[in-house]
Each structure stands twice: as C-alpha cells, then as structure tokens.
C-alpha cells in the first residue's frame, strides 16, 4: 500500500518559517545594544479570574509585569474545571486584553446599516439613546418585543434588565445552535439535562465512545485532561467520525462512518447489546421504563442492516458493542456538545442516552456522576413583572419540547408574518457574533432590517457590530468584576473574577451598562448594589466568605451537601420523568406527538461533484471570537478546507492552493480558502474549522483570512422536537479559477 506521509508544523510560526520571512538576521554588531528585554519577566501581584475565552470558565490567576500590564494567566490549582492548567485559549487570554483592534468608545450609527458609519459618542449619549428607543418600543409594542441574545457573563445583567422591564425573551445560541437537542434528549430519558461542564467521569472510565465529538480539538479543558488520564490508565477509546480526528488517532477503534448515518449505528449497537444480553440487567430492571418496547423496536436493526447505511463492518459494530459492555458500567457514550447536525438530533441523542442507560453508566463511577452546584443567594429585588406575551404563546404548536427561548426563533419572529400579531422590535446582543452563530445569514440580515433598535455589547468589532445602532464597548474579563462562577461539578465551588487591570480605552463592564440603563428606564430597584464588588461582598458574606478572602484564594470549595457522587448499590432513585424511571420509551416525546423511540431516517446525500460540508473546532480558537487574538492568531491564522487525495486528484487540487467553495444553493464563500489535501478526511465530505473568513475590516489580523462555514450554511434542518438548527445538510463544490482575485495571506 502506498504510504502518504504528511509532516506539518502546527504552530504557524516555526523558526524555519521565520527565517524565510521578513524578520531576517541583523548582522551589524552596532545594532546590538545592551539593556535588551529580559528573557522572562519580573512579575508583580496576581489577581484571581475565571476565563471568558470560552464557556468552560476555568479559574486562574492573572499576573502583571512591573509596569502593571497583564503578562500571563495561569490556572488555579484548586479549580475543578481546569486543575491548574488552562488551555491554549485561556493562556492566550492575554491577547484579548492587548488586541489593538478592540472597541474603544461607544458608537452610534449615523448612516445606513451595514455601512459602518458610526460616530463616537459619550456613554451618557449612548445610554440615553438606547433608553429612549426602549421606551418607545415598550409603549408601542410592549416590552416583550425586546429580546436579548447572550453568550457570556455579561448576559446576566442585561437579562435582569429585560425581566425587570417585562420581557422573558432571553435567548442563548448555545441552546438551539449547539447543545439543546442533547439537553432535551437527556431530560426525556433521565429527567435531567447535562448542563456545563458535563458530569462525565472520564478520568475513571474504561471505555469512552466519541460520536463526532472531537475532544482534543474542542478544548473542553477538564474533559481533555480526563481523557488523557483515561489514556494513561489504559481505557479503550472508540471514535465514530468520517474524519480521522485527533481523538481518532488516540483510539483503539476508529469507525470512519458515512456522514449523517450515526443514528443507524447507535440503533445497531442497541440491537447487539439487547440481543446478546450484554446490558446491565439488574440496573435496567430496577431503573428503566419500556425495555420490552425497545427490544421489539430494535429487533431488525442488526449490524448487517446498519452496514448498508453506515459502511461500518458488522463485525466491528459487534466488537465495539462488546467492548462497551465489557467496560460497563464504567463506560461513557459521550453525549457531545455541538449536536445540531441533521434535524433529527434530539432522537439521535436519545439513542445515545438509551445506550448509556442499557450499559448502566448513569450515576456510576466511570460513567456519569451526580453534580452539585453551589447555592448562592441572589441580591434582593422585587419580583419580576409577568410578561404579557411570550414566544411560546405566539408559537403554541412548534418545537414543543424546547424549554428555553430559541435564538433562531427570535430571529424568525422578528420578520413580520401575517400569522402573528407581534414581532420583535429590539435586540440586545451581548458577546455573541450572531452573523457567525446563526445559520442562514440572509435570514438574520432580513430580521435585522426590521428592527427599531439593535444594541451590541462586545469587546471586539465583529460582523454583528457593523449592523448595530449602538455599540457599547465592554472591557475584557481581565478588567472587570463579574458574578461568581458557581457551575456544577463533583463538589460545589465558587470562583471569583476580579479586575487585574484598569479598563483599557473608554470601555466599561456590562454590569455598569445594564445598571445605567435600568436607572433611565425606572427599574433601578432590580440592581440594589451600585458596584459589582459590593454585591459580591454581600453575597459572599451570606455564605461565610468575603470578597477579601476570595481575592486571596480565587476559588473556594465546599463539601457536598446532597447525595453521593454515584448511586449507592441498590439505591432507590427517583428520576424526574413522568414514570419516575429512566425512560427508554419516552412518554414525554410520545405526549408531544413525536416518536417515543428513535428511528433512523435517511438524510439527503450530496449531488454529484458536491461534498458534505463538515466543520469543527481547532484547540486554539473559540467560535469566531478569537480569530483576531494576537497570541492565538500566532498559532493558527486561517482555516483550510480538508480534501481527500482522491477528490483532490479529480479536481486537480494541491495543498496550499486557494479555492472558493460554493454550496448547493449557489452561495459562494466570501473569501478563498486554502486547500489541505489529507488522508484524514473521507471522500464524500470536506472539513473546515469554524470561525474564520471574517468580513469585518476592523479585525485587521483576521479580515479575509480563510472562509466562513456559516456563510455556506444556507440550508437549515430544523429539529421539530425543540427547534435546533441542523447545520450539516449543506454540500459544497470547488471553484478553482481565482483569476482577478486578491488572496489575503
């Protein structure tokens, strides 16, 4: 067999690359002077923080140099999310602070939307402008016609503001564009959503099954750390992915599945585990509901049946099912995180949940543990007014199991429709670049044009800021206090974020912004503390700590007060489902008119000459928000499109060449993307890292670098159960002739 060997220096600036570059060697001795910078930095003082570069929120220490400038960030060793080790993005968080393209002043739109015509404004002006518009919208349409989109700590304060005004419409793209189907599926099965960080006992697992989940490329810090521990302890890893991911490279079994067929494989695994009687019998008998229905349901879904669909050898399907059963209950069929793929995602995640239930991994060591979240008293404030209308009442029959406001739903309901008597008039967007977050950009733009008010709060000029009426520049997480992090884990913990430096430029924390707006809108009583630090100190004193103590330790761990981390042997467990049991047969789904047990349906295949567009993460970037971070851009400054050599040969493509991608609807990538010819990708799909191809020119380092996958996702496969936006049903082909085009490289 021919061997193709690829040697890639991942970090963009290898010494070799620099030698060939512009830096060159200075050979004149006269240019070499004394008093150069020390090779390391004398540090003064450290301040506790928790990271905001992604949602994992690892706690760390921020160190300053002798001039008071932020120099480095190191993980807090007490923190259960990171165990003293930040990921590259957390370590590179310093770049968020130093980025010279940061937003510097409040901005108010002066001309047409999209034209980037803004004037600098004072904070007073900006707040007055927003408050005035909110008053008008509230009077004319009701306060519930204002929605918040949030992804980040600042969202909490704008959420308080909106609730105080009478709007329940707080949407997070982390739901319907990401983990929503998983939460609904696990809720339906075990009576509990998984939340973040997920309660996976990976460090003690004996078998980890990853289905399209590319741990190691998605740097969910604690999970990557625990996967490494599991490798050390000899755990078996089974990876299902059409792409040879980093995790696949660490796996005993890599199942190079045909894209969009995962559910067939999951059902075949369930079939093997039931027909070979490999399931945890006492567990299934004691804790589950509907086993006999399930047995009947999957009886024909054999590995041979799945072979024709998935292209995975039946022997391998059986062997891997037995591996899982051998490890049971210390086995995790990983629920994944970004799971909005094909529109039947809740059902696919149901199959994942069912498989875990059959293997007895829920509530067991090496499987799923029971989390505990620290209960922190909220500052006292009056009850929120009851909203007159909600998104739910406007869409009574849609997405019945959605238990949160859908970001895409708000977007859809902003476009006037004769079937609705209300539409959204104002959006507040905090820390999420909606243009790169919501699929179908044309739809998002259409909605934006309908708005009376669009406020964007961010640290960086993003695509979405270009469409705003008012831009409020937020200081970075390194320059502000925020609420304490209380997230769920093995033990209850709190973590403090305190400012390590004064806000650079004319930037402010979100807490201040929301409170100033509350003042102007007559709802200041919902913000009883004038300063965040006073609120924190008040909260901390209620639980036997203080701001002073937390500044010294950063993270405080408490003993568990609730049940044991895992089920006791024979423990009687009440699950929060209608039957009180783990529902293999879902009464909730059935009641809402959906299949109570998952069924495989074939998804559309790429037409001839097109390839399924798959996308994912790189460990050094978070969404589109880090693409301009100087430290992280240094590691990866553009994405590439991965192409199998067979496909490359057909199209005459070679590594390093730039091409355009165009999708099934004729949507062409805004910028050309570099080809990476690699055996690591199947011939029926291409792959690219999400978050590149920025169209915002103010992002000087990342403008035009690589291509945006979101840009090519015009077809959205909506999950009827909860409204998730499946994004993996788009197909692309190549345009190789770039005559007359400038390539930014």
């Amino acid at each position: 067999m021919a061997t193709r060997r690829q040697f890639i220096r991942i970090s963009a600036m290898g010494a070799g690359a620099v030698m060939a570059g512009a830096a060159g060697l200075r050979l004149l001795a006269s240019e070499i002077t004394d008093g150069r910078k020390a090779s390391y930095v004398a540090l003064t003082g450290r301040t506790p923080t928790y990271c905001e570069v992604c949602f994992w929120k690892c706690a760390g220490w921020v160190y300053r140099d002798d001039k008071g400038s932020i120099q480095k960030i190191i993980g807090n060793s007490e923190d259960l999310n990171c165990n003293g080790r930040l990921c590259p993005r957390g370590t590179g968080g310093v770049g968020m602070y130093h980025d010279e393209d940061r937003l510097r002043k409040p901005l108010i739109r002066t001309e047409e939307r999209g034209m980037q015509s803004f004037r600098e404004a004072t904070w007073e002006e900006a707040f007055d402008y927003i408050a005035e518009k909110i008053k008008v919208i509230s009077a004319e349409h009701g306060p519930e016609c204002i929605a918040l989109f949030t992804h980040g700590s600042g969202g909490k304060y704008f959420s308080t503001l909106l609730r105080a005004l009478g709007s329940p419409h707080i949407a997070a793209p982390s739901y319907a564009q990401c983990r929503g189907p998983r939460e609904v599926a696990f809720q339906a099965t075990f009576g509990e959503a998984l939340d973040s960080p997920e309660p996976l006992d990976i460090r003690d697992t004996r078998c980890l099954v990853l289905i399209g989940s590319h741990l190691g490329e998605n740097m969910h810090n604690g999970q990557v750390q625990e996967m490494s521990d599991a490798i050390d302890k000899g755990a078996t890893i089974i990876t299902v992915d059409p792409r040879f991911s980093t995790a696949a490279g660490k796996s005993k079994y890599w199942l190079p599945i045909k894209p969009a067929t995962d559910l067939a494989l999951l059902l075949a695994w369930i079939n093997v585990i039931i027909t070979e009687e490999l399931y945890d019998k006492p567990y299934v008998e004691k804790y589950t509901y509907g086993f006999e229905y399930l047995k009947e349901h999957v009886k024909n879904m054999t590995p041979e049946w799945a072979y024709g669909i998935t292209t995975i050898d039946p022997t391998v399907i059986r062997e891997t099912a037995r591996e899982m059963a051998n490890a049971s209950p210390a086995v995790i069929v990983h629920p994944g995180r970004h799971v909005t793929w094909y529109g039947d995602d809740t059902q696919r995640l149901r199959a994942v949940a069912i498989l875990n239930a059959l293997l007895g991994s829920w509530g067991r060591r090496g499987g799923f543990f029971r989390t505990e979240t620290f209960e922190l008293p909220e500052p006292p404030h009056p009850a929120y007014p009851t909203p007159k209308r909600t998104w739910r009442t406007e869409f009574p029959d849609l997405y019945k199991l959605a238990d949160t406001v859908l970001a895409n739903g708000v977007c859809d309901a902003t476009v006037p429709d004769p079937s609705r008597n209300c539409k959204f008039q104002g959006w507040i967007v905090n820390g999420t670049n909606l243009m790169e977050t919501l699929p179908n950009q044309a739809n998002t733009l259409k909605a934006i044009q309908e708005l009376q008010l669009l406020v964007v709060i961010d640290t960086m000029p993003m695509e979405i800021t270009g469409w705003a009426d008012v831009v409020l520049p937020e200081c970075t997480y390194l320059e502000r206090y925020d609420d304490l992090r209380v997230g769920p884990h093995r033990k209850p913990q709190i973590a403090l974020r305190a400012p390590a430096a004064k806000p650079m430029h004319d930037t402010k924390p979100a807490f201040y912004m929301a409170r100033e707006l509350a003042k102007r809108l007559g709802v200041i009583e919902y913000f009883p503390f004038e300063k965040m630090e006073d609120q924190l100190d008040w909260q901390l004193k209620q639980v036997g700590s203080s701001l002073e103590e937390m500044k010294k330790i950063g993270v405080k761990t408490f003993d568990r007060t609730a049940d044991n981390l895992f089920f006791y042997p024979d423990e009687d467990v009440e699950f929060y489902t209608a039957t009180g049991k783990i529902e293999l047969y879902s009464t909730a789904l059935e009641g809402a008119g959906f299949d109570p047990m998952p069924k495989y349906t074939a998804h559309e295949e790429p037409p001839a000459g097109y390839y399924r567009l798959n996308y994912g993460r790189a460990p050094m970037h978070t969404f589109s928000r880090t693409a301009n971070n100087p430290n992280l851009t240094d590691l990866m400054d553009e994405n590439s499109v991965w192409v199998n050599p067979r496909v490359a040969k057909e199209w005459g493509l070679s590594t390093g060449q730039y091409v355009h991608l165009v999708n099934q609807d004729g949507k062409r990538s805004e910028f050309p993307i570099k080809v990476r010819v690699t055996e690591r990708i199947r011939w029926d799909s291409v792959y690219m890292v999400h978050g590149f191809g920025h169209q915002e020119k103010k992002l000087r380092r990342s403008y035009g670098k690589g291509a945006s996958d979101t840009n090519l996702i015009t077809k959205v496969l909506v999950d009827p159960v909860m409204g998730g936006t499946g994004m993996r049903g788009n197909f692309v082909t190549f345009i190789t002739d770039l005559a007359g085009e400038e390539v930014v490289s």
Binding site: R5, I10, R26, R36, Q71, C87, A247, M620, E679
Partner: protein, 177 residues
C-alpha cells in the same frame, strides 16, 4: 545533574498551549516561538496513524550550536541546559544553521533566541512553563541523574525515541511512543 524532558506522543493533542505559555512566560515576541507542535501522519484512509509532539531545543550533550558559536554566546550551564548570552551574541546565525532540530530563531532585537528549559523557573524548583500548563500532562521534566525524577521514571516505564539520533548530538528531549 542532567535536565531532560520527555513528551508523551500518545497523550499530546497538539493544542499548542505549550507554545502560548512559553510566549507569555518568556516574553517571546508575537510571530516567534521557542517551542512548537509537529503532526506526522502516516497511511491511507482508513488505515491511519498520527503522531503529535511538542518540540523545542533538545539541549544536546554534544551541541553543534555551542561548538560553532564564534563568540561563546552559546554555552552549556549546570544541568546541561544550553543557553545563549544575548549580549555576547552577534546574530551571525551559525548556530541556527548548525542545529538539526531547527530550534533557534533570530530575535528581532538582534540576537539568537531559543528554549532555556525555563532555567529561571527550574532553578527555583518549578517546572518549565510548557510542562506546567499542558492540559494533557504529556510532558515530563527532571534530572536524568535522579532515578526518582518524573523523567527518569517515565523513561524506565515506556518505549521512547529521540529525534535525528544519527546526528550524534545526544539530545535531552525524548518522545514516548
């Protein structure tokens, strides 16, 4: 005392955290690096293997960079760590050309720079920044003369290799395979 490092290629995920941590610890200018990550892929779909490894100066016992340095700027200190004295360095680049591992780069301030094994941390009993930060704990550091050091222990337990052994440089950077 002979300081050495071992990198576990079975655990490294290539995240490049070691590279950023080194930059912020050692004030390495943006656009340069003292350590980096290499991915080597072998095979054809679907029979594939990947090796990921974090690389840096090998702190060779028989260091070509030290031998060829005309000013004595490149030198070996206690513990076998290869260092460059910026004030003695004339930036001639002979060391860069002689290094089989491509581990040195011309610092924009006019001297040649490279990994120091974080000697400023190691001398205070800490581990190098890259070792301390690694989320997968894939790096082991310590004294080869101490049989109980992390690096000695792991080299006893595991199969390993060095890079370009035929260059005869006696490197102190090991890769667990």
């Amino acid at each position: 005392m002979r300081y050495a490092m071992a990198v576990d290629t079975k655990k490294c995920v290539g995240c490049s955290d070691c590279v950023v941590a080194c930059q912020t610890e050692n004030n390495v200018p943006i656009g340069y690096c003292r350590d980096w990550v290499v991915e080597v892929m072998d095979g054809t779909y679907p029979q594939l293997e990947i090796e990921l490894r974090s690389e840096r100066c090998n702190h060779c016992e028989n260091a070509p960079c030290v031998r060829c340095c005309p000013t004595g700027a490149s030198h070996i200190v206690d513990g076998g760590i290869v260092l460059v004295k910026p004030n003695k360095c004339i930036g001639c680049g002979a060391c860069i050309a002689s290094c089989p591992y491509d581990a040195r780069y011309p610092h924009p301030e006019g001297y040649v720079d490279k990994c120091t094994f974080c000697v400023h941390r190691v001398s205070q009993g800490m581990k190098p920044a890259c070792v301390s930060v690694c989320p997968t704990k894939c790096m082991y550091f310590g004294d080869l003369d101490d049989p109980n050091s992390d690096v000695s222990m792991v080299l006893k337990k595991r199969k390993y290799k060095t890079l370009i052994p035929e260059a005869g440089t006696k490197p102190h950077l090991y890769f667990l395979i």
